[in-house]
Amino acid sequence: MEPILKARNLVKRYGRVVALDHCDFDLHEGEILAVIGDNGAGKSTLIKAISGAVTPDEGKIWLEGKEVKFHSPLDGRHAGIETVYQTLAMSPALSITDNMFMGRELRKPGFRGSVLRQLDHKAMEAFAREKLSELGLMTIQNINQAVETLSGGQRQGVAVARAAAFGSKVIILDEPTAALGVKESRRVLELILDVRSRGIPIILISHNMPHVFEVADRIHIHRLGKRLCVINPKDYTMSDAVAFMTGAKEPPQQAVAA
Amino acid sequence: MKSLTTLKTALFAAAALGVMASAPVYAASHSVGACLITKTDTNPFFVKMKEGAEAKAAELGVSLKSYAGKVDGDHETQVAAIETCIADGAKGILLTASDTSSIVSAVQQARDAGLLVIALDTPLEPIDSADATFATDNFLAGELIGKWAAATLGDEAANAKIAMLDLAVSQPSVGVLRDQGFLTGFGIDVKDPGKWGDEDDPRIVGNDVTAGNEEGGRRAMENLLAKDPMINVVYTINEPAAAGAYEALKAIGRENDVLIVSVDGGCPGVANVKDGVIGATSQQYPLLMASKGIEAIAAWAKDGTKPVPTEGKDFFDTGVALVTDKPAEGVESISVAEGMDKCWG
């Protein structure tokens, strides 16, 4: 089966430092692919190259079989790759609706929209409410409350809902549980599984091994600027993964080929 | 051989001096240096002063450098300017001080360094802190318009309602002198002549401050009109403030039954007298102050003579004249046409 997102031979250098060294990457339909690696292994450069935040010096990327070239995160987003950054990229003083629609607001139909440029607050609120409910995020109340009045888990939830709401093809989650407590992490993990059940493939970057092993279908292990191997979490233990990651143990041959 | 050594020594000395302060050597060897330090370089009054100084300096071969504060009241910049002039080896300084008492120590420094310091337009406190003061008699300027207003009103002067549009809440001396002069001329007891606002004559509706510009003049007039809409005499610190006050009166349709008087004699101000916006204004002569000042510095540099004050006053009076086309009996005045010839800005 052709991967929905494929990258081959990506190279990115920062001066004399090689952050990506002929790296390959595959994401299949409907899966959760975790990306793990030691600090400085080049994970984040890889993710940035895929989302458009960084333009690789060499190599090619295909989305749904078509080659794509991104020059900014906006390009990636227009192509259907949504990223939920660790910082969440939300404006704390603005409402949930404002944040969900930031940069892609809906205008009222007819004269009021085209000439007066008036926003269709009602439609946007209804849409936001619907999307949050779909993901079980709305036991409800004020969709217009400022994001800063939400808890960390709620914010993460809104950010994920925003990423999933606009017909995206791929969602990248950068350390979604890093800043959260135990309970809230659990809910966010459930949310991730929920998004996958809607058929959207997810790239999950995380340092939290238990979380990775719990939700990931496959694990991409990154080492020294390239893909070391891809393993199935059912076949290996967390200590194996950590050993591969740090170079303490040689990766299995068939996993490298995958 | 001896002369060569002397020359060498002189050269060495000059070089050493040059390293420390090259300017004085330059100034001393080529021409007399003078400094003009004004409150701002935006007020047409000071612009005219600068023009007068420059023209006279060119005529006498004095090299003039001009400095100015950023805004009225900018004391620091003026102190820095005095220090620069001392370092520059100038022979004299013409100064319109923003802060007349605080500047005294800097002025003393300059005098100790052998510079002639002449206060222009604004006397220092105390007045003898400067070697000489070339100024308008601001009290007399106020008195002239006060007398004119009283004479023009005639018997009605007893029932006048007067608005006093002053300069600033800090009560700078120029403003106080004009204000108190006006009241004295009008025949009102000024109590302490050292400050305005302490009078209790019921004819005074109130004092407000204008910052000496149109905006402030209009606002102050509006404020006082809100207090008493039947004001019929308006004293203004200068002509821009008068123009602002006129706008406020026009807005309520009373511009024709109020007497506005002012001080300055700038060209737009005199034109406003001609158009009936201002009834009468006391004209002063900044150009004369500056050119006399440059002459004094040139004389000082030549043979050390200091300028002498006008007889009976503690400063050199550069004169003031009342400009109006409606002369009043007992008050000497010049016509608008004559005022136009002598106006500045």
Binding site: T87, E105, R162 | V47, G206, K227, P240, Y246, K250, P268
Partner: protein, 353 residues
């Protein structure tokens, strides 16, 4: 090894709703804090109404007359218009120290194009407006593209524009009488509508309409939402798809444009074209913005608050003058209001914690 760790089992028994929104019982103070968080213009409105009532009680008819109340509107019109420009910039977490200078330069351009070059007044007004907008563009370009801090950029522009103004105008005033005779269009904003004792100048009406228009734009258009987002967190805005640079440049250009209109209104207000006026425009407009509850850190506050802030200053100055108080009391009280306003802002921001 099991998929779920021991300590996480506790979580499984906890409520299953994901990231639910819950209402807590809030104390009255908390509720007020919440209301203010949602409507930051409430504080200045309350202070405004309160101060009008207090001065009304103290002064009676003298203050509570249509004449005096509309006079306040006239007296704050320039600061109000400049404050509208300042609000936009401050909402993006910037500051514009050059507003007053741009205003004066624009008015001087309008005056000199009419009188020095003898151009038709319409053209001169257009040139003045273009001049203000261009100054705003330079500010915006330096802030957005060169990434220089707004404080520094506009501090520099303030000096540059002011010096240009004095050099270009040669400090010469154009008299009201000449303007009324030859180029009355320049005094357009000085026209007035009066009924009863109330007097509304076009300038005051313009100020109110401008603020209402901007309130609409900020609330109801995508551009307006982007202004808030950029001020709140520019990186987040960029990542969520806002064209940050374009938004910033447009904000500074609009600010310059509004300043030019302020310059036109200034001619209407003082009758003449005076290069020395408007020197405190930047400080006064920032004061109105801050008292109006707009956060200097950007992204929070409403432009209506700025209008109330400007009116508060106007009410205090006129009220205190009518009471016969020394003008210094006005400055003192305004200083207190500024600090109080910023304290309230800080308190409101803590609502999320």
């Amino acid at each position: 090894m099991s998929n779920t760790q021991e300590f996480e089992k506790a979580a499984a028994t906890s409520p299953t709703a994901v990231a639910a929104f819950t209402t807590h019982d809030r104390s009255a103070v908390k509720q007020i804090q919440h209301v203010l968080h949602q409507s930051p213009w409430m504080v200045p409105l309350i202070v405004l109404i309160g101060s009008i009532l207090v001065f009304g009680l103290l002064l009676g008819q003298k203050f509570f007359s249509p004449f005096a109340l509309t006079l306040i509107l006239q007296q704050v019109q320039i600061v109000g218009i400049l404050g509208a420009a300042q609000s936009l910039v401050i909402l993006t977490a910037g500051i514009d120290l050059s507003v007053g200078a741009i205003m004066v330069l624009s008015s001087v351009v309008m005056g000199l194009f009419s009188f020095r070059y003898g151009l038709p007044t319409e053209l001169a007004v257009a040139a003045g407006i273009a001049c203000g907008t261009f100054c705003g563009f330079i500010n915006g370009f330096l802030v957005a593209v060169m990434k220089l801090p707004p404080f520094i950029v506009t501090l520099g522009m303030w000096q540059i524009v002011l010096a240009t103004n004095f050099l270009y105008s040669a400090n010469e005033t154009i008299r009201a009488q000449d303007i009324a005779e030859q180029a009355p269009l320049l005094q357009f904003f000085g026209n007035k509508i009066a009924f009863g004792g109330a007097v509304f100048t076009f300038g005051a009406i313009f100020m109110v309409l401008l603020v209402l228009f901007l309130a609409y734009v900020l609330k109801q258009t995508a551009w307006g939402r982007h202004v808030y987002a950029v001020g709140d967190d520019p990186e987040a805005a960029e990542l969520s798809g806002v064209q940050v640079k374009r938004t910033l440049i447009s904000v500074y250009m609009l600010s310059g444009l509004i300043c030019a209109f302020a310059g036109w209104a200034l001619i209407g207000r003082i009758g003449s074209v005076s290069p020395t006026s408007g020197q405190l425009g930047n400080i006064e407009s920032i004061t109105a913005v801050v008292i109006g509850g707009i956060s200097l850190f950007g992204g929070r506050g409403s432009i209506m608050g700025m209008l109330f802030g400007a009116l508060i200053v106007g009410v205090f100055s006129l009220g205190l003058r009518l009471l016969g108080a020394d003008a210094q009391w006005t400055y003192l009280l305004i200083g207190v209001l500024i600090i109080a306003a910023v304290s309230v802002d800080q308190w409101i921001r803590k609502v999320s914690v």
